[in-house]
Symmetry: C3
Subunit: 131 residues, 3 copies
């Protein structure tokens, strides 16, 4: 299993990690199958969405903030319950298809690490499944 | 990797694509493993839910519309930010188990393509992972 | 494919099933790959989140209840539309990495069955994918 290190810089941010995954596919010579990217964190998830216009990631973050506000009647005492809820909404892992040795995503798609309680040092775990 | 072509007919709709996947499993002779269905789009996702009563899909769509309205203080200029947010909430891919050469879903389950910014010509990518 | 039987005891609850998966990995001698856990139900999903402090699961449940209330202008007549919507938000399946024969999760992570319309007898289906 491969591991990626990513340092986040704000409490909440979306970081495009597509190039890191693309590089792993090429370096390892993975041909046909699925890359599973997994976040071992409980306040930091993963989502696939538009990477071309950064406003899209901003809109997703703003919507999540509206739906699950930082302040609320939460029981968990660490003050980051909003981030926990958001990970469950986005997902802790994503699957990315690989074909003919290349990562295959839609034209506008990118993989985002969704930081919800940074800044922190984060890891992503990457497992290869051949077709 | 297999590709399915699906034409959507409205801005927002859920289309049951379970039979398309079932057919692929049979045609390819896939025996035991997992079918990964992947949407390469950023305004069109995938979810597993009840396919027997069409009111369930209607209720999910109505709830998403309430949570992420079409009109809002969005930054992305294309007027479809709501659809982008909803893809991240539903997911861009789903996994479906296959056992003994048959797609195994729960009694009421079906796989839905979740169109959020149609009508459009959509593609689903299907990758097979043997167990 | 392995099957786990889980009896839920309330309408809504999160049940930590991590140990059941860990046991399956050990009993089957799975070494390196991904465990796919799949809920065949349409009112009961799966999510990965913090398992150390039970308040986190409570906060996620309370947030989901706020976002998708039990009572609402739903069309589906069985009175459990809220549970259907929540499954689509959480997800019907999760992937868990395995390395060197051990289930690898983050320090605080656990896998939760998210009951939305219990109490019921539930099943989880577990498929192994070697790396």
């Amino acid at each position: 299993m491969e591991r990626l290190q990513i340092r986040t810089t704000r409490r909440r941010e979306f970081i495009d990690v597509t190039q890191c995954i693309r590089r792993l596919v090429e370096e390892n010579g993975w041909r046909d199958g699925v890359v599973v990217v997994f976040s071992p964190h409980t306040t930091c998830g993963l989502t696939l969405n538009e990477a071309a216009d950064p406003d899209v990631a901003q809109d997703i973050m703003a919507s999540l903030e509206r739906l699950v506000p930082e302040q609320g009647a939460y029981r968990h005492r660490e003050g980051n319950s909003d981030a926990h809820v958001r990970v469950s909404l986005m997902g802790a892992s994503q699957m990315l298809p690989v074909e003919g040795g290349s990562l295959r995503l839609g034209t506008w798609q990118g993989l985002f690490l969704c930081e919800g309680d940074g800044p922190r040092a984060r890891e992503l775990w990457v497992q290869w499944l051949a077709s």
